[in-house]
Symmetry: C2
DNA sequence: ATTGTACATATTGTAGACATAAATGCCATG
DNA sequence: CATGGCATTTATGTCTACAATATGTACAAT
């Protein structure tokens, strides 16, 4: 070493100047490969609602440590993609029947508004994007279930993107994911998520700048999706039990 | 001990039966006192956008360890209440000007829909709640800034609650918080967040079941809020710099 | 046969220590 | 007087080990 300082000049640092963060790239946890992986697995329905997400197994699968897994899981929990239970672990989120209905209702509100804005703002680039997507969706292999699921989701995301509101886009993304969980929980086996003809119709109406028509078509489309799910009998029994126990628990907390 | 078992009967466990979680209380990270504390501090504008949230300081302030703080911060980051920057720490989120506008636009869409649903579903209990809130808001101490802020936020939350859609309610909560960050970032000093007469008007229209009128009033109210904020000159310069540096960074990454 | 108890195991939660990166202050140099 | 390098300090990121909790199995008791 060149020189040791014999003593500290200013032992107490002068009030650390709080420089606010200006020119930096904020970390985006959504780019985390673990988060991405779990999300795509869920939206492709390879992970079913209620499936256990063990930390060790995930760590081994993704080749990282438990810390990253924990961070990813807690992020997914705050987006209601997984449910965390103390000392038991993380599970793929399973919405209740009421929540499923609320999700569809929220989507009706938000996506009809998105369609409206998309029609208003439609420009050349937007038209091109929309046409490109519609072509891809028209001639994709319908037997490839995973591709179908991805494409149908992308259509709704694309409409939200064309609306030009990033906040609404984030919300739509989240609702899309929760929709696929709702469908996975309550679907009748074998039916597709979206009816195959709805997207071309909506797309064409947007391209034609038929605002009222497009809004109506989107509303109807989401309504149709909702009508494909049914509350499961077994679920109702469980919900009944849950309600009973919750009431008991509440009484216990209140009474003493 | 009573007896030691000489050997294991089944050394390999028979495929752990996956019991799905049914009757359990999922952890709600929102109940965490750290999360609560930071959120209320933000919505009361005691923490300003850009303020640094050091882990050690928070741990000391809340009397807990860094682990809990980290969890809370990462949760808040995924709700866009704080921004995390690698190796620098967490800061109270500061929305961009575009984001602020998008937030208000999203609120116009969602809260007008909420008002509409609230009018449809209004029952005795709802009327009572609404009246009770309006009275509290009418005769609160206008000099108590924190109480005012809480009350005005509660009105919007109450309307979302009356709409009877929990998903929409969560979204509204999140947008409320982000609104207060947007206002804190771009407000003209000294002006209140909400105009004082708007809430009684909207409440009266809901009580009168005047759906169209209530929707229009809510729309106008949010528009008015939005018109109180202005892009800051300094911010624009910074944004310009940010854009430049981001471009440079992207070029560097692309070029090698 | 079914229920209750105790131990074994697996998994999650937590704490502390260590590694690493950014920010600050000091000092030399132009 | 301003600027740039160097060392120190502070703060964050990560790992490892241990503790706490729940689950599963075997066995005893009714």
């Amino acid at each position: 070493m060149k020189r040791t300082r014999p003593f500290k000049r200013k032992p107490k640092r002068s009030e650390p100047k709080h420089r606010e963060p200006e020119v930096v790239d904020p970390r985006n946890i959504d780019d985390d490969p673990v988060v991405q992986g779990i999300l795509t697995a869920i939206s492709q329905k390879r992970l079913k609602p209620g499936a256990k997400l063990g930390e060790d197994k995930l760590a081994a699968a993704f080749g990282t440590t438990r810390i990253h897994i924990r961070q990813a899981l807690s992020h997914l929990a705050s987006r209601k993609a997984v449910m965390q239970i103390p000392n038991r672990g993380a599970f793929v989120y399973r919405p209740s029947w009421e929540e499923a209905q609320d999700i569809f209702a929220a989507r009706r509100i938000i996506e009809t508004a998105a369609v409206s804005a998309a029609v208003d703002r439609l420009d050349k680039a937007g038209k091109a994007e929309l046409k490109a997507h519609m072509e891809r969706e028209a001639r994709h292999d319908r037997n490839d279930r995973w591709a179908s699921l991805s494409l149908t989701a992308e259509f709704h995301i694309l409409v939200a993107k064309l609306a030009g509101n990033r906040v609404l886009l984030e919300i739509s993304r989240e609702l899309m994911l929760r929709t696929s969980l709702a469908i996975a929980t309550f679907e009748q086996p074998g039916e597709p998520d979206c009816s195959p003809d709805a997207h071309p119709d909506i797309g064409a109406l947007i391209l034609a700048r038929n605002k009222a028509g497009a809004i109506h078509a989107m509303h109807h489309h989401i309504e149709e999706m909702e009508q494909r799910i049914r509350p499961k009998k077994g679920e109702d029994e469980v919900d009944e039990l849950t309600a009973i126990f919750q009431e008991i628990g509440a009484r216990a907390r209140a009474g003493g």
